[in-house]
Symmetry: D2
Subunit: 246 residues, 4 copies
């Protein structure tokens, strides 16, 4: 039985984590705390893994406090800079058996889609990305699509691929945004949540990899996977692909 505490338990993600931990048969929910509560109540005496979903301004201090109490941490809060991560690494020097895990994205389907896209990239003449989101999203394309484009492009460069064929002579914007040589298209449609489709083409064939995140619950399998993996890879790890066996 993995003893789990949740930091930021009243937030939108945190409350989902509480439900997911309660539903997991191999986990026991110990402490749920939020801003104003004393985080030092979470110790290695009562907790194996703390899941931290707070706000960028609080997250570093929370993680440092948890490390000092000898607790493995799974972090979902955004806003991590290299400076902040170095502070975590320093603190971990005295706790060499602990793991701190930070994930920009806990959706397993999205993480796998990007990983597979990077593997496939060198074997196809053409590659394009379509990401689709709800119309309230203010940025386009999504950070995930940008990240995927860079990974595809890096894989193609490393393999020495020829440029992607494109004889378009006039478009007026329909060919989308070129991100590191990859055309990226962003659709905004009421009813959708967060979706990414990566298309690869050769003469006579196509490979399509699509990840659909329908709602916030899509992050929970990734959070639970990280909780189960905690402690197995000591030190600071960033990105769910580190915890997947790929």
């Amino acid at each position: 039985m993995i003893r789990v505490s949740v930091v930021g338990a009243h937030g939108r993600m945190g409350s989902n984590v509480v439900s997911a931990v309660n539903a997991a048969q191999d986990m026991e929910l110990v402490h749920t705390i939020d801003s104003g509560d004393d985080i030092t109540a979470i110790t290695s005496g009562n907790t194996d893994v703390a899941v931290e979903f707070s706000v960028p301004s609080a997250s570093l201090d929370n993680v440092l406090a948890l490390i000092r109490n000898d607790v493995n941490v799974v972090v979902g809060t955004t806003g991590w800079t290299e400076d902040k991560m170095n502070r975590v690494r320093e603190e971990l020097v005295n706790h060499p058996q602990l793991s701190v895990f930070i994930a920009p994205n806990f959706a397993i389907s999205t993480v796998l889609a990007e990983h597979f896209a990077a593997q496939a990239a060198r074997y196809f003449e053409s590659a394009e990305i379509i990401e689709l989101h709800h119309p309230d999203k203010v940025d386009a394309p999504s950070g995930t699509a940008l990240h995927t484009a860079h990974k595809i492009s890096a894989a193609r460069r490393e393999a020495g691929c020829a440029p992607i064929p494109d004889n378009t002579q006039s478009d007026g914007g329909s060919r989308g945004q070129i991100v590191d040589d990859i055309h990226v298209h962003a659709v905004r449609l009421r009813g959708l949540n967060a979706h990414e489709e990566i298309l690869f083409g050769n003469a006579g064939e196509q490979l399509v990899i699509r990840a659909d995140s329908f709602d916030r619950s899509s992050f929970m399998p990734g959070v639970l996977l990280a909780v189960r993996h905690a402690g197995k890879t000591p030190g600071l790890s960033v990105g769910l692909d580190n915890y997947l066996d790929l």
Copy 2:
């Protein structure tokens, strides 16, 4: 048995028409002619319907010659202006029982997709178009996508729909080309031929209509349908939707 002659029989489309007519159990192939051959050999005495796939510079004269010989015509050649069509209408005055049918697109799936999109448009908050083609295509977006965007927009205006929601504040081109208020995205991918996907969204739901044209044979069912319909709607008709029972 419908007696069919093919004008432009050695061309890429024409030779496909010849094969399709030969394979159709309710049709008989009578004459196949090409540039240099005498088109007046095709008469109402030997032919019910002539299928004309030639070049824009020859097509009008071919059609006029066929009308004079009292033959119904199905035209697949492009480049028809309003002036040229008026010449056809004048010639048809003396042949009131004849039909001349011009189709910018014979792919039934594409024609139906656009028709359905126009019908659906007023019932959804969001609508976007993704067209996908082989990378040798020089224009983007496709004429079909432009046409579909205008039909969707017209239907929404007529129904008094609210503007399509979109809170994007920065994109860098990923949101595509805005055609008559509709975002249109053009993908170019080796292996594809000609494809159009129209997405509609409301809270909690999505409707997707997709037409795939995998190769030139995709036009043949539409050509045969037009041949079978010839003579039933006298006069000049433009667009396969006129011959579909929708």
Copy 3:
């Protein structure tokens, strides 16, 4: 301003209707009642349209009471038999200006998909249906898929279509269930809600029509559409396609 009352307001669908009516700028929420409340409080003096989402055992009596109080009704409760509908028709004789509308499915995307599928059916050699739902659904295929299969088949029969080509000699069940000559496949996948994909094929071309219902909110646009249409088509109507301009 349309004055709307909701019957069954505390149920899962009813509470969604309450939210949707509150959010609609052209509607005013008047009464919300549930089992135990007095339905006769809803009258033409305070309400233009009543939305009824209760239980099969209560729905007929609710509708009759609302008719007697001269209120138009939109019914989402299931379990309507021909007998029950005849009772409604009798009651409407004395209220010839009223409309009672019963919909087996309020998802506009689903209703449109089926309507378009029936229109397209006669123009393609092949047609198959794939429906996809969450794994807790006990019946397969879905009622919607069955209904769509029958409509496609009826359209093909009426048009005198040839049998659908299929040279399969051995399958072991992979070819799915044959419903009125149409192969229907049912996928059950965690993460999905209710989806239907209808595929049509000719030589070289494919038409795909797909309706996605991601959650219960997908029914609200259809409910609001029915509320806005109430009174315009007096008498009893069944099916949202009656209220769509197709």
Copy 4:
């Protein structure tokens, strides 16, 4: 410049290989032979790699002859048994630097899709396969779909995954064929060629991997890839995934 000879050059696949080799800038076409021609004309003196697309009854003898002449072989002919492969291995003992490569499927998209599906399998609650082919195919489901199902199931067993959730109580065949615990659905549709879609689901998320083979040319990138890899992995290898860097 890789010197390539083609055995079975007049066949449907072989003639495609001839075109593909001619179009490849790093390859030179040396010999094209067919049944009746003397295969011993292909030697290490004139050829680096021979591509063999003949018939099952001739393929083994062809391969053995090529090995004796010190030529690397890429084999696309079907019908290879363990016995036949052992004969090849014996012959290779005296030619330890040679490679013989046999691929049941040269479509890179299909091979990658299956590889990715096996990697993803353990991370999802649900998995199903839909394969889609032209209606002239006599077997269902496809060999590829069967193979993919077994690989998904093996990966799930190895990872100790819980059974796939499915509360279906009645279906009538719509749930497809259960292959090694995986539901497999086979669609037959005029216009399609060979397609496979693998769906994975968790709460709130879906991963879809789809491979489309539109025509015979889809095998050529895989054949060229195998030609370029020839000699780098001495001995007998089976399956294109051996030659991909995954």
